[in-house]
């Protein structure tokens, strides 16, 4: 009976909350929020037509791509392979949510952060890469090579910054499950109260935000899909449902990454419990605050060149992440 209940909870967590249905809704909210806030910063209205305050506009755009737009099949394309990878990429991003305390089925294991890295930092970029190269075009090839250059720098950096809260919580607070996302999410709030660890957490969080900005291809890192320069980079040859799937994968990736930063770096709703009014308010405030930071950077910068982009990631993400990781290890060594 317990096994059946567990299995049902697992299926619910994967398909409904915080799985597919919830994460699609969150991705749609993110898209609306970014468009609305960015528009306000540029003295425009933003979406207003579909739903209250235009909140359903991203959903309408997605449905239009899926059900009303034509899918143009290019002569040299492998669209079916691209679709399979898009499905698996979305699946990998959603499955990683099982590690968060948000899920009713909370999965944890020693060193499970490696599984998270495998799912979100390997499968999702791999899916985007395969989708891009499945429709050959000089603009696509150039955009994909730029995307790979950025990922080469920002993925190891994100990994290094992720290690900071994981190592510190495991070694300083004797976490129940060592090096796990769940234990880290529950204990990380304590790192924001110790004077020695606050600077490290600030540096790691800054590094993670810069990495997310680059991974999401938001300005100033919209180099792979540089409009007016290389048409739309990896998206040049995509249309209709395939373009919709790729955009959905991209938006889900951002929503999942934001949730992980909210929990693993900022502590989610803690010190309040999940099912309490202050807990929910704190969780929403942290998530929307992060999204606002991302949108503000997006609206404030022009596009970097690829070399400027890589250098800025090295300067503002790799360096803080490495420094915080080294100091975190020194703290552990001498305590």
């Amino acid at each position: 009976m317990v096994g059946v209940l567990e299995s049902l909870t697992l299926l619910f967590a994967l398909a409904i909350f915080p799985g597919l249905v919830f994460i699609i809704a969150l991705a749609i909210f993110n898209d609306w929020f970014e468009r609305k806030v960015e528009a306000r910063m540029q003295s425009r209205m933003g979406p207003t037509y579909v739903g209250p305050a235009g909140i359903l506009q991203p959903l309408a755009d997605l449905l239009k791509l899926f059900s009303a737009k034509e899918e143009i099949r290019q002569k040299y394309s492998l669209l079916d392979v691209a679709k399979v990878f898009a499905f698996l990429g979305i699946g990998a991003a959603v499955a990683s949510l099982l590690f968060l305390p948000l899920s009713p089925y909370r999965l944890s294991a020693p060193y499970d952060f490696l599984v998270y890295v495998y799912l979100c930092c390997v499968w999702v970029p791999l899916a985007l890469f395969i989708i891009s190269i499945s429709v050959p075009n000089p603009f696509t090839a150039l955009g994909t090579s730029r995307l790979l250059s950025i990922l080469t720098v920002c993925e190891p950096t994100y990994f290094a910054s992720l290690l900071v809260p994981i190592i510190l919580t495991t070694r300083l607070f004797r976490a129940q499950v060592p090096y796990s996302i769940l234990s880290t999410s529950k204990l990380v709030i304590n790192l924001w109260t110790y004077p020695y660890t606050i600077p490290l957490m600030i540096l790691a969080t800054i590094a993670a935000i810069v990495c997310l900005q680059a991974k999401a291809m938001y300005p100033p890192y919209n180099i792979p899909e540089a409009e007016q320069e290389i048409v739309a980079g990896p998206l040049t040859e995509l249309s209709g449902p395939m373009l919709g799937l790729t955009k959905l994968l991209h938006d889900i990736d951002i929503a999942v990454s934001l949730l992980f930063i909210t929990y693993v770096y900022l502590g989610g709703p803690y010190p309040f419990p999940h099912l309490s009014l202050p807990g929910i308010a704190v969780l929403i405030a942290k998530y929307v605050g992060l999204l606002f930071v991302l949108t503000t950077i997006k609206a404030s910068f022009g596009r970097f060149r690829i070399d400027q982009g890589i250098k800025s990631i090295l300067k503002y993400a790799s360096l803080p992440a490495t420094v915080s990781l080294v100091v975190a290890n020194l703290i552990i060594m001498f305590t």
């Binding site: 697992l10 899926f66 009303a68 699946g91 959603v94 294991a109 599984v115």
Partner: protein, 127 residues
């Protein structure tokens, strides 16, 4: 109430992989249900879009793979590339040997320090 499952990494990996395939399957079903009925899957294939030009304007549709390496090295890591070229590729064998032995010495010293640290920590009863 939430179900908290503490397991080993292999089982976690297996569960997540199966979960990925399950969710991917649901997305595929939704995609098939919503997909445009007049998508040109069976229609005539189009030429690639190269700003309206025919494919003959480019030598090949995808860039050469070595172009990616040199593009990265020369554009992104230009100063690093110049530094290493000037340091090692001077044409004198002694420069190359000096550079390599310097790095090798650094690695040997680091390994020695770490070994001594591990031994001292072990003797002091830390482990």
């Amino acid at each position: 109430m939430a179900v908290e499952v503490i397991t080993n990494p292999q089982v976690a990996m297996l569960l997540c992989t199966l979960g990925s395939i399950f969710v991917g399957g649901i997305v595929a079903l939704i995609y098939l249900l919503l997909k445009s009925s007049y998508g040109s899957s069976e229609g005539e294939a189009e030429e690639p879009y190269i700003c309206g030009e025919p494919p003959t304007v480019v030598k090949s549709l995808t860039g050469p793979s070595e172009g990616m390496y040199w593009g990265f090295v020369k554009r992104v890591a230009r100063s690093l590339y110049k530094y290493f070229r000037d340091l090692m590729h001077t044409g004198r064998l002694s420069d190359w040997a000096g550079y390599m032995s310097g790095w090798y010495g650094f690695l040997v010293i680091t390994a020695l320090i770490l070994t001594m640290y591990v031994i001292v920590r072990g003797v002091m009863g830390g482990w």
